[in-house]
């Protein structure tokens, strides 16, 4: 069975948590004791006579008190066709960083639009973030159709508005579904109240949409996470490089280059769970052995000699600044790309992206919380990378503040 990871974006006011609650509830994924708890809680909050499905996802005390989603909540359910991981992300602008967290691993975005309000600034922001993160599918769920008398005209207008806006972005697959999460229309079951809609209900979309690989290329990439050296009598010379095949595949006997050193060598042996294999495919945890006695350590890349990534000390990237403290170019910082870490500085903030119109603004130099900027970064050690569009894995990084150790930015390499 396949696994689909998706995230939901929108405010509680748009019915996001209710939608997730509806998906879980109507697909029989909620246990009776949890329904009992909810019924009890729903009575306390007094929002609904029935059960308040939104209470399923808001897990923190502060969230229940304020009726908002602050941080990502992960929910799990499965049907006969697929297994799903939902990242329920917050909609408010001050929690954009948490939305990035939930969205970064997703294959699909559900963007909620309130049928009464149409496209808002928030819809645009969520869409732009989806585009920056290269989410393969966007499903626009036009919710609360019950409150606009299930009007086809209303739906068509929002669809047209959205497409006009999205034209300037790089999103590949956009679909629309009219729904009412509260009433259960077109979520799990097809609605009888919108006979003019010939498409699938939301769950059917989730069950049938093609799960696109997050790497566009079949070019092989591997980064060393850990060196296995048992140093026992019988395994005296054993030196294996443990890591994951990030993309493509690796074969025994293949010519490879170690980066950043640039030394060429050959793959001698590939082990998966202590068994020798000839070929290891994408996403397999492996231990690679190489022929020559080359200095290789954590964070180094082992890549096919025929298809090298770029290895440079300067990269241009789009980054989202996530820290409360602003950044002034020139401050020292750490850059981490999977298992590779180096000192770095952002030399220049080239431009800022207006998150509501997707236009480039002139930069005032500094980066503040939730700013999305084009930047030029200089690293202390050379970094081996692909563009994010080609490879989500070797084209993404985070920035870490050296004093607080906090993750302060997420970046995608141009």
């Amino acid at each position: 069975m396949e696994l689909l990871r998706f995230f939901t974006a929108g405010n509680v006011d748009d019915g996001k948590s209710t939608l997730i609650g509806r998906l879980l509830y109507d697909s029989n994924s909620i246990s009776t004791d949890i329904i009992e708890t909810l019924t009890r809680q729903s009575k306390t909050t007094g929002i609904n006579t029935d059960i308040d499905l939104a209470l399923l996802t808001d897990g923190l005390r502060a969230e229940r008190e304020q009726g908002i989603t602050i941080d990502v909540a992960y929910k799990y359910f499965s049907t006969d066709k697929r297994k799903f991981i939902i990242a329920d992300t917050p909609g408010h602008i001050q929690y954009t960083r948490n939305m990035f967290t939930g969205a970064s691993n997703a294959n699909l975005a559900i963007i909620l639009v309130d049928a009464r309000n149409g496209i808002t600034d928030q819809t645009k922001r969520h869409t732009i973030i989806s585009a920056i993160l290269g989410i393969p599918h966007v499903l626009v769920c036009i919710n609360k159709m019950d409150l606009v008398d299930y009007s086809e005209q209303n739906y068509k207008q929002i669809e047209a508005d959205y497409l006009t806006f999205a034209k300037q972005l790089t999103l590949k697959n956009i679909s629309f579904v009219p729904a009412s999460a509260l009433a259960g229309d077109n979520v799990v079951n097809k609605s009888k109240k919108m006979p003019w809609y010939n498409g699938k209900p939301l769950l059917e979309f989730l069950e049938t949409i093609e799960i696109t690989k997050t790497t566009q290329t079949d070019i092989s990439r591997f980064q060393v996470q850990y060196v296995i050296r048992p140093q026992t009598d019988e395994l005296h010379d054993y030196r294996g490089f443990a890591g994951r095949v990030v993309s493509g595949s690796y074969k025994k006997g293949q010519r490879v280059t170690v980066l950043p050193s640039g030394i060429e060598t050959t793959i001698d042996k590939i082990e998966v769970n202590q068994q020798e294999v000839e070929v290891a495919e994408t996403n397999t945890p492996v231990v690679l052995h190489i022929k020559d006695d080359v200095d290789i350590s954590r964070g180094n890349s082992i890549v096919p000699t025929k298809h090298l990534p770029k290895t440079e000390k300067e990269v241009t990237a789009t980054i989202c600044w996530m820290d409360n403290a602003a950044y002034i170019p020139g401050q020292k910082i750490l850059l981490q790309q999977n298992s590779f870490r180096t000192k770095a500085i952002v030399k220049q903030v080239i431009s800022k992206i207006d998150i509501h119109s997707f236009t480039q603004l002139e930069s005032d130099g500094a980066m503040k919380l939730n700013d999305i900027c084009k930047v030029l970064i200089k690293t202390a050690e050379p970094i081996s990378f692909d563009s994010y569009t080609d490879n989500r894995n070797s084209g993404s990084f985070i920035l870490i503040n050296e004093n607080t150790n906090n993750t302060v930015a997420a970046g995608t390499i141009d």
């Binding site: 004791d33 495919e281 945890p285």
Partner: protein, 301 residues
């Protein structure tokens, strides 16, 4: 290329996380309880690090209220794998710190474990503790990162969590802080059982059906009769065929009626089950809506 099964994907993710721990920390530890989730972690560690030794010891915080079967299993496993096992006892912490032991009819030491855990972290200066918690267990857990940073007091601050993007885990901390790492965050109870079946992992016998003498509580839970539980005249004692869905402190972990003799039977039962894992078996989470969130803030897993 044919699409991979979701268990392969979950396994690859967990092994990746374990290797990140090994690569990023000086003194990691794997918290081992003898329960199915931590048994899966050990199995994943074998896949991640063999033929090398584990880059961490197994650490068990022993409440003294454990099922004997789980303890025997724990000791055998450590011996068989030739890995280091460190055991610290809640009993000792209670004596040394003059703490109030669990009170009442079912005197749980679940909350007291936190003290021993924080002590053992300090004693060995562990900078990362790997645990088998899953996000589907409870709604505060559903909010927690895979690398979850705790301050010097072991506390979790749910409003100040680090962003966690893609497969990039930031384990940088200051001295005295530590990171709790949850490699099977994205697994559900059913995933764990499907994995146990696929990998043919052996488990302590209490996970399977057996006849047991239990107290039938007023709300219908089946509690083990043991030396720690205070029996009263009015207690209804029954003999039932039961199994355990979780293996925790005996005094607050309920059994469920079951006819499951094999892992396959358990999977069938779970697919039909209408009660969540913690709801069925844990008395400690029934205290309040935020019981788990509050315990985690104090340093609990």
């Amino acid at each position: 290329m044919k699409s991979k099964d979701y268990l392969d994907e979950l396994e690859a993710e967990a092994i990746y996380i374990l290797r990140e721990v090994a690569g990023q920390f000086d003194r990691p530890a794997l918290l081992f309880s003898g329960g199915k989730d931590s048994i899966c972690l050990v199995h994943l560690a074998i896949k991640a690090f063999r033929p090398g030794k584990f880059p961490f010891p197994l650490v068990h915080v022993d409440t003294g209220h454990n099922f004997e079967e789980a303890i025997i299993y724990r000791d055998n496993l450590a011996k068989q794998l030739n890995e280091t096992l460190i055991v610290r006892y809640v009993e000792d912490t209670i004596k040394a710190k003059k703490l109030q032991d669990g009170k009442g009819k079912f005197p749980s030491r679940n909350g007291l474990q936190t003290y021993t855990l924080l002590d053992v972290i300090e004693e060995f200066e562990f900078d990362a503790c790997i645990g088998g918690a899953r996000r589907d267990e409870e709604k505060a857990r559903a909010k927690e990162r895979i690398f979850s940073v705790r301050d010097e007091f072991g506390q979790w601050d749910p409003k100040m969590q680090r962003p966690e993007l893609w497969n990039i885990y930031n384990g940088k901390i200051n001295k005295g802080e530590n990171v709790r790492v949850f490699p099977i965050s994205n697994w559900t109870e059913l995933d764990v059982w499907n994995y146990i079946k696929r990998e043919k992992i052996e488990l302590p016998s209490i996970y399977f059906t057996h006849e047991r003498e239990c107290i039938l509580t007023e709300n219908g839970q089946l509690m083990n009769t043991n030396e720690f539980v205070i029996l009263e005249e009015k207690d209804v004692i029954v003999k039932r065929n039961v199994r355990y869905r979780t293996v925790g402190d005996m005094t607050c972990t309920a059994a469920v009626e079951s006819e499951a003799y094999t892992v396959e039977d358990i999977i069938t039962e779970l697919k039909d089950a209408k009660i969540s894992e913690r709801g069925a078996t844990r008395m400690d989470d029934r205290v309040s809506e935020a019981a788990m969130e509050d315990r985690k803030k104090r340093g609990y897993f």
